[in-house]
């Protein structure tokens, strides 16, 4: 058995373990063991991958494996990783690990909550290791459906409305993806479902590509919060329980960007070059509009959700530039946004758990009451607005650098427009921090609150270490990513 299969297999085994668990201690034991195992395994994979590259293995995908599944449609269970997927697997493992600790205090329906949470992880991990269109799509949908129950049952606020809206919009997107996949499969001669082989064949007629590219791009774009299909995101994130917000904004939205890059652009390169301008305009709107919307929100989660729309828009914006630098920046941004948005949602969850409000008008002076959480909140905010030394700076710098490298007026103008989002981000983040953390606390009830407990500290510290690690020494990660992007970009441009 290929070692990559362990990634979806471990959460599946955790589900079995949870099923058999009798009390909360056993549930926690299963979750901690499983998620630590995943994290350790993801870190091991990074080193193993770098080691194999150092040994001179130049194949695009490493650790590949393929088993025939449904012969009449050439469906295989095919797995393999390159630098991009390794980075995404690491991100997912970190978020699952910290998500477990962030929901440590959950009391109602813990077992079911973690069961669905693990099913979600099966889908996420399976998606990033898959090389087969069908298998990839299957894992994609496995990751979507548990959201409905996770938000609907354990959420807050208008949870039923948000859960239904989110599920239906994402499923609508996946309907587009499905027809796109069929189009790609039959358009390339119906001989293989393997992504690498379809790319090698490179035989889908341009007239077909023009139809399927927008369909697949929008399909994945829905999950990547592409304007105007982002409306599920603020409601969904605001209603979801903490760990689910973390996993959803941190990892699930990356499925969208990854899919756009790996399937829409890589397999339909000619149409991607021809039609990218349409989506560049849409993503530029996402970036600026998301940032402006965040400025006027009063709910902490809504602010962060709109900020996610803006930052995920930047991911799609970068991959549409179709050059190595920008695409590397896109993957770095996925990592960076995944980590810092998870940190944000974790902190918001912890603050909400104490104050029972997320309205910024009711919060102030938290720095004196819960210094640990507040300092972490400041760090998350600084990472979000792109302070050098934290991950956001590295990612955004690379993206704008790469985008500006495209020599024509259109691309340069949109790049400049998109750059303004940095300033707007600074506006809403600094205003927010000033409002809720500093000043004097007006609500006497809040003075009685306590600071973070050990499980919360652990989750937060792991995320901050990852953010700072990526920000302080980005080269090994960006080197690993760009090595894998070079062959993809050269394939797209030829």
């Amino acid at each position: 058995m290929n070692i990559l299969s362990l990634f979806p297999a471990i959460p599946a085994a955790m589900m079995l373990g949870l099923w058999l668990s009798r009390n909360i201690r056993q549930i926690h034991a299963v979750m901690v063991t499983g998620s630590s195992l995943l994290l350790a395994f993801a870190i091991y994979l990074v080193f193993a991958y770098l080691g194999m590259r150092a040994d001179g293995q130049t194949a695009e995908m490493l650790l590949t494996d393929s088993h025939i599944w449904y012969a009449p449609l050439n469906i295989h269970y095919a797995v393999g990783v390159d630098g991009i997927s390794v980075a995404m697997l690491l991100l997912s493992a970190i978020i699952v690990f910290t998500g477990t600790f962030a929901s440590w205090k959950m009391t109602d329906g813990t077992k079911e909550f973690f069961l669905w949470f693990c099913l979600l992880s099966v889908g996420v991990f399976g998606f990033f290791i898959s090389l087969d269109l069908f298998t990839m799509f299957m894992f994609y949908e496995v990751a979507l459906i548990p959201m409905y129950l996770l938000i609907g049952v354990w959420g807050t606020g208008r949870k039923e409305y948000s859960a239904m809206k989110l599920t239906l919009m994402l499923m609508g997107g996946s309907a587009l993806i499905l027809i796109g996949i069929l189009g790609i499969y039959f358009g390339s001669g119906a001989t293989t479902m393997n992504i690498m082989e379809i790319a090698q064949l490179h035989n889908i007629p341009l007239s077909m590509q023009r139809i399927w590219f927008p369909i697949v791009f929008i399909g994945f774009g829905v999950l990547g919060a592409l304007f105007p299909f982002h409306t599920w995101s603020p409601d969904g994130h605001a209603s979801a329980p903490t760990a689910v917000s973390m996993l959803h904004a941190g990892v699930l939205m990356k499925l969208g960007g990854y899919g756009c890059f790996r399937i829409a652009i890589y397999l339909l390169p000619d149409a991607a070059q021809e039609l990218s301008w349409i989506f560049i305009i849409l993503t530029t709107i996402s970036v600026v509009y998301g940032a402006f919307s965040a400025c006027v929100q009063t709910d902490l989660k809504y602010i962060n959700a709109y900020s996610s729309v803006s930052h995920c828009g930047l991911v799609l914006f970068a991959i549409l530039m179709l050059n190595t630098t920008a695409a590397t920046g896109a993957v770095l941004q996925m990592l960076s946004h995944g980590l810092m948005t998870a940190l944000f949602f974790a902190l918001i969850g912890m603050i909400y758990g104490r104050t029972h409000t997320r309205d910024i008008r009711e919060l102030s002076g938290l720095m004196k009451i819960m210094p640990f959480l507040s300092v972490c909140y400041v760090i998350a905010g600084l990472a979000n607005l792109g302070l050098p030394g934290l991950s956001g700076f590295v990612a955004e710098m690379t993206i704008f650098n790469g985008a500006f490298m495209v020599h024509d007026t259109f691309h340069r103008v949109v790049t400049i427009i998109a750059c303004t989002s940095i300033v707007i981000t600074a506006v809403y983040i600094l205003r927010l921090i000033g409002k809720i953390l500093y000043g004097t606390c007006t609500n006497p009830e809040h003075l009685k609150l306590t600071d973070a407990t050990w499980d919360e500290r652990l989750a937060v510290i792991v995320l901050i270490v990852a953010i700072a690690g990526l920000g302080l020494s980005p080269l090994w990660m960006s080197g690993m990513i760009s090595d894998s992007i070079v062959p993809i970009v050269s394939h797209i441009l030829n």
Partner: protein, 477 residues
């Protein structure tokens, strides 16, 4: 005439008649004590029957009775699938049959159900329109009795009347169509007829009439008007039988006959199906959203599912045939699971079948709620459950033949269908209720039935061997 051929090729029907006669005799002979073992007796017989016929005895097709009856391994596969479904219905029907007002009619239920199954088997294996028609009638007349089984309940009797009237009308239409075919071709044998099909207006009219007749059975829009009332009125076990077995058999036969007999008129029936599919899926979905009665709800869901099944028919390829059989199998386990849960709740809560009564079911009966959820997810086509795979295959089959827009419309409809399936999930998991259905333990027989269905929902997709097995035989067709 060599009568050994009957047993050699008609073994399914022969054995099934044996089972039916045995059930009939048991009903006559068994005393008060013996009747307690009636249910296990029939279920064991069915199990033996399925075990004996599940693998086709001959690999090549054959004709007996001068071409009236056709043997084909694919037909054998379909018949075993239908028989398995019937067994599951029997298992789930026990708690209902044990009620005082139905206990004395238990034998009738078995005999009538088996006789419809025999009718369907003959319909599938027909090589001649007369044979086909007799099979179909044998399947529909006892069905009307089954629908009106709870004859002292008004809506059951009303459902029976509605069913028999629509069925008769459908049969009449179909006979009219067949008479046109006979008039233009001079024969009723499928094989001879194909050569004489040239697509003249009269033959097109005949094809449309024939199609309408089967459309009633499959309950496609616009021939669906009887469906909701009949499904609601009939006893739940009969509804589940009607929605799965009867529909599956008719859909398969429709495809076999369209592909075989009407092959020269392919562009006409594809156009017809194109419109029917869009109508069936869309209209049924829109109506399903508003339903509060779960049986009516599943009635509209099953009309929409029938539209999806037609996607495999429209492709007209051997691959489409494999997808159709696989879809019917997967739809069968999922739908029977859903009806099984509805029936169990209905029997144990004094007849509650309204969606609002189901609020908070997860709190009181978590296992049943979970079973229902998985069944609905499978019906909606959510992976990793079997429904996702079967839906993907029928979409691929239709897409391969160039029906891109049609597949797109069908896909958009899966999102709508997900909405109303989630409404039930929402009722069970999210909605709170002051008076939820009390916690109960369903009887052994129901649990075996549900476990079988659940195993099918979980395993059929992930394990590709079932699909490969069907595929192996279809390419011989």
């Amino acid at each position: 005439m060599d009568y050994s051929a009957i047993f050699s090729y008609m073994y399914t029907e022969t054995a099934l008649i044996g089972v039916m006669v045995a059930a009939f005799l048991y009903d006559l002979i068994a005393g008060k004590k013996g009747r307690r073992f009636f249910h296990p007796f029939v279920c064991t017989l069915m199990l033996l029957f399925i075990a004996g016929t599940i693998v086709p005895y001959h690999r090549e097709s054959a004709e007996i009775f001068g071409g009236m009856y056709v043997y084909n391994p694919v037909f054998g596969i379909v018949k075993s699938i239908l028989a398995t479904g019937t067994l599951i219905v029997f298992l789930q029907a026990d708690s209902w049959l044990r009620r005082e007002d139905t206990e004395f009619k238990r034998g009738e239920f078995y005999v009538l159900t088996l006789s419809t199954l025999i009718g369907m088997d003959f319909m599938i294996s027909a090589g001649h329109f007369m044979m086909f028609f007799i099979g179909m009638e044998l399947a529909s007349v006892p069905m009307a009795c089954l629908v009106a089984f709870d004859k002292y309940r008004n809506n059951s009797a009303e459902a029976g009347a509605k069913y028999i009237l629509s069925a008769l009308f459908a049969s009449g239409l179909m006979l009219y169509g067949i008479s046109f075919l006979y008039g233009t071709t001079g024969t009723l044998y499928f094989d001879d007829m194909t050569a004489k099909m040239e697509g003249s207006p009269l033959q097109i009219l005949a094809m449309v009439f024939f199609f309408s007749g089967l459309g009633f059975k499959i309950s496609l829009v616009p021939f669906h008007l009887w469906t909701a009332d009949t499904y609601q009125g009939a006893p739940t076990s009969v509804t589940s039988y009607l929605s799965v077995i009867s529909k599956g058999a008719a859909a398969f036969t429709l495809m076999a006959i369209l592909v075989k007999v009407f092959a020269p008129m392919v562009q006409y029936w594809q156009m017809l199906l194109y419109i029917i599919i869009i109508l069936s899926i869309t209209i049924a979905n829109i109506f399903a959203i508003r339903q509060k009665d779960l049986k009516r709800f599943l009635a509209f869901s099953s009309i929409s599912q029938a539209g999806y099944i037609m996607l495999a028919v429209i492709s007209g390829t051997p691959y489409g045939m494999t997808s159709l059989i696989f879809y019917v199998l997967v739809y069968m386990v999922a739908n029977l699971a859903a009806f099984g849960v509805i029936s169990a709740v209905e029997q144990n809560s004094g007849g509650k079948v309204c969606m609002d009564d189901w609020n908070g079911l997860y709190r009181t009966n978590p296992k049943l709620a979970l079973t229902m959820t998985l069944a609905l997810f499978s019906l909606a086509g959510i992976p990793p459950f079997a429904g996702f795979f079967s839906k993907f295959f029928i979409f691929a089959a239709a897409f391969e033949q160039g029906f891109h827009v049609l597949v797109f419309i069908a896909l958009i409809n899966t999102v709508i269908s997900l909405y109303y399936y989630l409404l039930v999930v929402k009722a069970m998991f999210i909605n709170k209720s002051d008076s939820p259905i009390a916690s109960f333990r369903s009887d052994c027989s129901t649990r075996i039935g549900l476990a079988l269905c659940l195993a099918g929902v979980l395993v059929l997709g992930i394990a590709s061997s079932v699909y490969d097995g069907i595929n192996m035989f279809t390419f011989g067709l």
